[in-house]
């Protein structure tokens, strides 16, 4: 989220795959996003989440977290390096959706 000219918090659209990959690589692994997340049900390490966001098979805890994420954006503000974990989670959702359709 960012502030537009009117000072209101505007809504961002999704990010592309390459942008998401770039953000995952820029993550410093501080866990602040996961600590601020109201959708995370069971403990999950940020490195596992990052690795599975980049590609490869998605494990059960990561898939459950991706499905439970409701894009509230609470993870964006605490990130010390200004990354968008909500966009990364959306990318995981799309991957799950496509995998379910056999794509």
């Amino acid at each position: 989220m960012f502030k537009n000219k009117l000072g209101q918090r505007a809504v961002r659209l999704h990010k592309t795959g390459p942008q998401v990959m770039q953000e995952v690589h820029a993550c410093i692994g501080c866990n602040e996003c996961l600590l601020a997340c109201p959708a995370l049900g069971e403990p999950l390490t940020i490195d596992v989440l990052n690795r599975e966001t980049l590609g490869g098979p998605i494990s059960r805890p990561v898939a459950q977290f991706a499905r439970a994420c409701y894009q509230c954006g609470a993870c964006v503000a605490p990130c010390p390096v200004g990354l968008h974990r909500d966009a990364m989670m959306m990318w995981l959702k799309v991957r799950l959706l496509r995998a379910g359709w056999g794509e």
């Binding site: 999704h14 390459p18 600590l35 049900g41 898939a63 990318w91 959702k93 959706l97 379910g100």
Partner: protein
Amino acid sequence: MENGRGRSGEAGYSWLYHAPTPRGGLRVLIVLLVIGLAGGFLVWYVRSGNDASPDSPIGLIYASIGTMLLLLALTLYSLHRRSHRQRVLGGLRASLGWHMALAIMGLAFLAMHSFGELNPRTGTYALYGMLALVISGLLGRLLDRLVPRMMATEVHQALTAQGDDRIETISQKLQAIVVHNTQSIRGFAAPDEKRNPPGNSLVPLSPQRALTWRDKTLHTPWDLAYISLEPTPQELSRENGQLRFISDKKSDFLRPGALLPGTAEEIDELEVVREAMRRELFYRYVTRYWRRFHILLALVTLGLLIWHIVYALQLMLVPMLH
């Protein structure tokens, strides 16, 4: 429960996705137990012939418990979200679960406190406010489940299989088609690029201009008086053939590969992607503004509750003072 698990890990994102946790089950059990016990006691109390009115001792106890639960629901989750101390992974979700559980229990206690007396008074308005607040919260949780799934479907449409922006990909295809077709038309219509610039290749040539560019092939004799300035029928036929875009069996545009097809299809696809992005944006606004609506409703309900408490205290204290 989601069971879409393949060889390559988890797959699928169903609408009815649900992942129950042991803590969640315990919370539901506690809520049902508390409401059941409080309801059972109230039924016994009323059947025993005791005073069944909101301002009876039991009614006031229920009101106090309901108000306390409501206030806890209002404050605990908000404070936990803003607090930076003793945070644990998954702690906020548990807190959200308790936020809902406390609100439902609070509503139940306040409804029991009314003893079914729904007169148009302050207490009834406060109860209606509480009911609307709990319903808006439950609807919000439902939206939280459905809307991200809808958003993911739209994002799937807006991205290619590799995750690239489909608008950009389609735009590049469109540009390639336009460039190819423009080059075909230019190459076809302009035998002499210097005298007949590409920008004018689609404009029918006047007889005078035709003569001007023809003079290279038809050598101008020394005596122009013997030459007609009007183009010959053969020349006219050749020119018309070059500049006509109506389907013609001899036209070069019908040559396979002369013009790339698919412009209309690409533009339609572009529109589909743009629509998907508009819907995605709309869904994002829905979730965001629903949360704000819920907070607004909580503030209104709090106001109604304070109004009712002040009114009830006046009713109770004034007779005591006199």
